[in-house]
C-alpha cells in the first residue's frame, strides 16, 4: 500500500536507547532508596516500569518481533491496576497514621 513512499527508516543506535532506559531505571532505584514520602516512592516505581517499557519496545522494534510491544501493553495494564490499589492503600495509611512517611510503617502492629 505504501508502494514507493519509503521502505526503511534509519533510527538511532540500539545501545543508546538501552543506555537511556538504564539511566531512567537507575534513577527510579535511587528514588526508592532515598525518599521517605510514599507517593514519591510510588512514582519511582512508575519510572522503573517506564524504563522497562522503553527497553522492551526498543528490542521489539530492533528484532522485528511484535510480541514485545504486546508485553508493554500488558505492563501498562498491570501498572494501572497497581496504581489504583497502591493509592488506596496510601490513603488508608494516611487516615490511620496522619502521615505518609514510610519510616513510620516499620512497626507491624494493628
Amino acid at each position: 500500500m505504501q508502494g514507493d513512499i519509503v521502505q526503511t527508516v534509519q533510527s538511532v543506535p540500539l545501545n543508546q536507547l538501552i543506555l537511556l532506559s538504564l539511566c531512567i531505571f537507575a534513577i527510579g532505584v535511587l528514588g526508592v532508596l532515598v525518599r521517605r514520602n510514599a507517593i514519591i516512592v510510588f512514582m519511582s516505581v512508575e519510572l522503573m516500569l517506564n524504563a522497562v517499557n522503553l527497553l522492551l519496545t526498543s528490542f521489539s522494534v530492533s528484532f522485528g518481533d511484535s510480541a514485545g510491544q504486546i508485553f508493554v501493553f500488558f505492563i501498562m495494564a498491570v501498572a494501572a491496576a497497581e496504581v489504583a490499589i497502591g493509592l488506596a492503600i496510601i490513603v488508608m495509611i494516611y487516615r490511620n497514621t496522619n502521615s505518609i512517611d514510610i519510616d513510620i510503617l516499620n512497626k507491624l502492629k494493628g
Binding site: M1, Q2, I5, V6, Q7, T8, V9, Q10, S11, V12, P13, N15, Q16, I18, L19, L20, L22, C23, I24, A26, I27, G28, V29, L30, L33, V34, R35, R36, N37, I39, I40, M43, E46, L47, N53, L54, S60, V61, G64, S66, A67, Q69, I70, M76, A77, V78, A79, A80, A81, V83, A84, I85, L87, A88, I90, V91, M92, R95, D101, D103
Partner: protein, 183 residues
Amino acid sequence: MNLNLLCLHAKRIISALMIQYLFYFLAFVAIFSALKVVLTKNHIYSILFLILTFFTLTAIYILMLNAQFIGIVNIIVYAGAIMVLFLYTVMFSNWNRSTDTLKSKYMLWSGMIAAGILLVTLVAALRVMEFSRPMIITQLDLGMVKNLGKVLFRDFMLPFEVISILFLSAMVGAVLIAKKDTN
C-alpha cells in the same frame, strides 16, 4: 494509516542526523525530569515532572521507534489515567506540607552510591554487546494498531482476558480499601 504516512513523510524531511540530535535532546529532557521527580521537595512539582518524562518517552516511541500504538497508549494510560489518579489523591488529601522528605545524609549518600553501582554494572554489561550501528527499521507496520491487534487477539487471547479479570478485581479492591469504615 494516515498517522503512519504522516510520520513517514516527516521522517523523510527530517534527516537521520536530525533524528539523532532530536534523540539526544529528548533523552536529556527525560533524564533531567526523572532526576527532578526524585529530588524535588514539593510533590506536586514531582508529579508534573513525571508527566514531562512520560511525554518525552512518548515522543521517543513515536519518532525513533515508529511504535505509534505504544506511544498513544502511553499518553492515554500514563499521562492520562495514572497521573490524574496521583494528582487527585494528592490534592484531595491535602498533603501540602509534609515534613522533610529526604532521609538522613547517611541514607542519602548510601542510596546514591547503591544506584550508581547498579548503573555502572548495567552499563558495563551493555558494553559487551555490539549494537552501536544506527538501527534500520524495515518492518514499518510493526507498531501499528492493525498488526498489533492481530497479534494480540490471535496469540495473546488468554492473557488479554485475564487482564480484564485483574482490572475488575483491582477496581473492587481499591473501592473496598479506600472506603471509610462506618463502624
